[in-house]
Symmetry: C2
Subunit: 228 residues, 2 copies
Amino acid sequence: MERLMHSIKIGINNKLYVKDPESSDLGKRIIEQSILMIDEMGFESFTFRKLGDRIKSNESSIYRYFENKHKLLLYLASWYWGWLEYKMVFATNGISNASEKLRKAIEILTQTVEEDVSFSHINEVLLNKIVINEYSKSYLTKEVDQENKDGYFVIYKRLINRLYEMIVALDPTYPYPSSLASTILEGSLHQYFLREHFPMLTDCNEKITPTDYFMDLAFRALKPTNHA
Amino acid sequence: MERLMHSIKIGINNKLYVKDPESSDLGKRIIEQSILMIDEMGFESFTFRKLGDRIKSNESSIYRYFENKHKLLLYLASWYWGWLEYKMVFATNGISNASEKLRKAIEILTQTVEEDVSFSHINEVLLNKIVINEYSKSYLTKEVDQENKDGYFVIYKRLINRLYEMIVALDPTYPYPSSLASTILEGSLHQYFLREHFPMLTDCNEKITPTDYFMDLAFRALKPTNHA
DNA sequence: ATACTATGATAGTAATACTTTTATATTTGT
DNA sequence: ACAAATATAAAAGTATTACTATCATAGTAT
């Protein structure tokens, strides 16, 4: 798996960047260090000026890669969802039993990102934390509809759609498969956030994981059909 | 109900404001017009300078009521959750059957806010839209833990806790009552957002409501015990 | 040797998120 | 009715942000 992913490039909408950050050393440093900095200081405090100082480059050079920090966040999020999608498709690929397949998918999508193995300059653990803490900000804007039209959220939508398909395959009678799919993905991020900051609002802790909760919820909601 | 609510004041943590906006005409205009403006232009574009222009007052005068726009958002959100809590407690008060009680609570908490009836200067319909589009931004910050300690989220937490208690009363064997309660509240906001901007990611539309979805989900998950 | 490209350095602009000071209007207490 | 206290308004100032523009320079490709 690790070896395989080394040779994979996650295809991100090229409107999200001015110049592909994967195409140069500076670009990779921008990605690498922006992940560290956004995690450290939060998205609002993060600026291209500070990033420039940190990577000993220039603010104006960073603008040659990304129009603004909002697009950088969309880029990072797309990368993350693409990476998760890849892991999920890979892990569920051979499974023919609909129930097992969905089980595996939920496991991959809701489990903690444990360690950083595959891409040298991208720290997936921190990127997962960024997605938990900042992803909502990327779509809760007045520009969502235009940006959605421009395809900035395709990977995320495709991922939810894959989950939707597995739900329908398992139980075609369930009336809310899209909502359940989006609830699992978004709700999982939320439960991680609550575990960290509002432990009274969640049952998740060191022992119980968001995976446990959503696995249970999904299988309480769905009734497998016999042709599965 | 309307008459009753006219005489109710929603108790909001007094650290959220410098001067109580309910205590003066200017304060009420700040609340009234900030709701309209945040709805119109979104929270990031909204500024105290623009609000001052709009209400023909001065930027500096607004700062005498709220330290910054972030605290204003927290104030508006607290007001909203307090208002919802009130409606929920009122509506579920007389119900002794645990199942019916939870049913009523979910209905109140997840249904569309249809019209603005009770408080003259607060438009609850728009406030509901603001909560859908902006609430996450109020807690997805580096300062959450401190602000949580300062009690800025008490009403929201109390509301979820009330829902939690109804879930436990209905089915004490269910292992994730807190997570289910927080999922219903947060997930409902999310489904409304998706319905508006990402219809492919939800089953909710003109006919199917987030209420339908979460009512069904909750009652698939929970098994009433006989002593209910 | 030259031309092209990437990056860096510097400066500039408009807007934001405030703070400070001073003036004026309004309310209230006696 | 008058003085004092309080609320609001007006204006100016500051540091930072989110860029844009210009010019210089180093490396690379032909």
